[in-house]
Amino acid sequence: MEDIREFIRIANTVHDELVKLRKDRHMKLLRRLADLAAKFQELARDSRKMGVSLARGWFTAAESSCWGVRRALGEMSCSISQIQPMAEGPRKELPKLSSLVEELRQLQQEFGDVHFDDEQNSLSVTTEPVTLDGLYLGPFRIQLQLDTLGRVYDMSPYSVIALDPHPASTDESVTHPHVRDERLCEGDGATAIKAAIEQGRLCDFFTLVRSILNTYAPDSPYISIDEWDGTPCYECGYIMGSEDAYYCSYCEHDFCEQCSTYCQSCEEVFCLQCAGQCENCQQMVCRNCIVKCAECGERFCNLCLDEDVCESCKQESEVQENEEQRENKDRTDDRPAAEAKSRPDEGPAKLAG
């Protein structure tokens, strides 16, 4: 883009948007001042009521009015603290058209090429390929939407578009540790970026965005570089983010949700290979919590054992006990008859002698 006329045309668009921005700020301030004035009237009303109530000896009514005064004062204090910075306003005058044209020339010098899209009404530059800590991310286009400059405090007027995307393996919308859905998370650069846009310092704006793209802040990325390629599940190989990985403390590997479970007894997470299943309730149990029945040797969770014996064995043992008891009882009942049979019969024997 070399045509001076095109520079002037773009500079005009930027200038108009900056005028809108200033006007919008003043309009917002006026609205807030109107709200504040309404609160003053409310305060005056409550104050008059309080005066009348006290004069007539209506103490309860005076207390109620005092409560209204207190509330109004609190709201006004909050409003004033919010309005004051708005009233301070920008320190600089609006840039002249010639200054904006110089900005565009400087932009071209700094970035090599500047593209103006007539249809989209956008101004774009392309960065050099970005590599952070050995991770190649490719070049990015910084696209400033000129017709939204006036709303810089309500919405982001620019996009950051990956031209050779190498997104995170677990989220394609993250093309850079600090870019998601083509929106840059500005971090420490937020205030300077807004100031640059508001003052029409176009080259500074693009330079600031480029500086953020060329910096990796490990404490606050959308996805860190370490996790950029994701973590494979040790069992099935599924690629997952660190938040979706489950660590088995037995085999010390990471697993996905499908290949892991948790122990019903101790609620620790384990992979399916390191967990067992209770023969009775079929719930998954870890090695620490699975216990063998002292009778049958099958594996159960501790909830399905009673004094180390499973329910089934316990029932069998009860049945056996009952049978033994019955047998013993039968034996005891049969003994007098048996004894009676074994004693000699005196009657008939005497007669024979």
Binding site: K92, G187, A192, A195, S211, P221
Partner: protein, 72 residues
Amino acid sequence: MRILFIDNEGGGYADYLDIAEHTTIDQFFTIKMSGRSASDFLIRVNRQPVPQDYVLKEGDRVTITPTKIDGA
């Protein structure tokens, strides 16, 4: 003499400053960005790169922009 200084680190504010005559851009940087390395910044005078021994003049526009800024 008076120059316009735009500090793009932090607030990004532009202010007029009074500095001593014959101050070079390197000296100015050392005063304003004490302890920092010039290689970590993009330094422009009147929108142009200048050598470090450039002597500042009345009305010069100095911009200092960090080349590394932490995103979030």
